[in-house]
Symmetry: C2
Subunit: 121 residues, 2 copies
């Protein structure tokens, strides 16, 4: 009985360089943090949310002023702020009827700047 030279994975994919695949596999982070990272970038992957965050770079703002700034409905902004809140990217402070949102993470600005550098290249 011969051993096949080319290894195969469960999906029956041929492997060109089995050693390399194993080496890289061992260096890969666990699935979960990579999944979480994708979830974070998914949040950044919408221009409304990008613009909300960019506005909050400049100043803490209430929902209606953000809606006005971006020329969008209060409801749309509120929905998106919830997404940002769920990702711990923004926090809020209530003041009477008004709710003021602000950024909750110092990394965001740096991430955005690096992203901009890629775009400008």
């Amino acid at each position: 009985m011969e051993i096949e030279n080319e290894s195969r994975n469960p999906q029956d994919q041929p492997v060109a360089d089995k050693e390399l695949v194993e080496k890289v596999r061992q260096k890969m982070p666990d699935e979960e943090p990579l999944y979480d990272l994708a979830e974070l970038f998914k949040v950044f992957g919408d221009s409304t949310r990008i613009r909300i965050i960019w506005a909050l770079f400049e100043a803490d703002m209430c929902v209606c002023d953000i809606a006005n700034l971006l020329n969008m409905s209060q409801s749309a902004i509120s929905h998106q702020l919830r997404v940002l809140k769920n990702s711990r990217l923004v926090k809020y402070k209530k003041s009477g009827k008004t709710v003021y949102y602000s950024l909750n993470d110092d990394h965001i600005k740096k991430i955005f700047e690096l992203g901009m550098e890629h775009i400008m290249e």
Copy 2:
């Protein structure tokens, strides 16, 4: 005829702090780069693409080895590599039948590391 105290935008949103909205509006970047930035993060916002990129941090790889590493079909990987290629995040080099992909941007690793920092917080 009286001038209303509260200004309204085309969507009939009340404005709490008109001056602030104007100040922030002037500091906001143009729509287009913000739209492009969202497009970039959209590309990062998928765990398959995140894992492909992370693999390429370790080594340049051909399509079938990436498919094997991630235990996914060659077709799925090829489709995703095209997305990465269109965003100028990866480049490729042909060698006979085989196509080797590699990263095309030094910012990516930094962006991912900062993203990870947010997750770990």
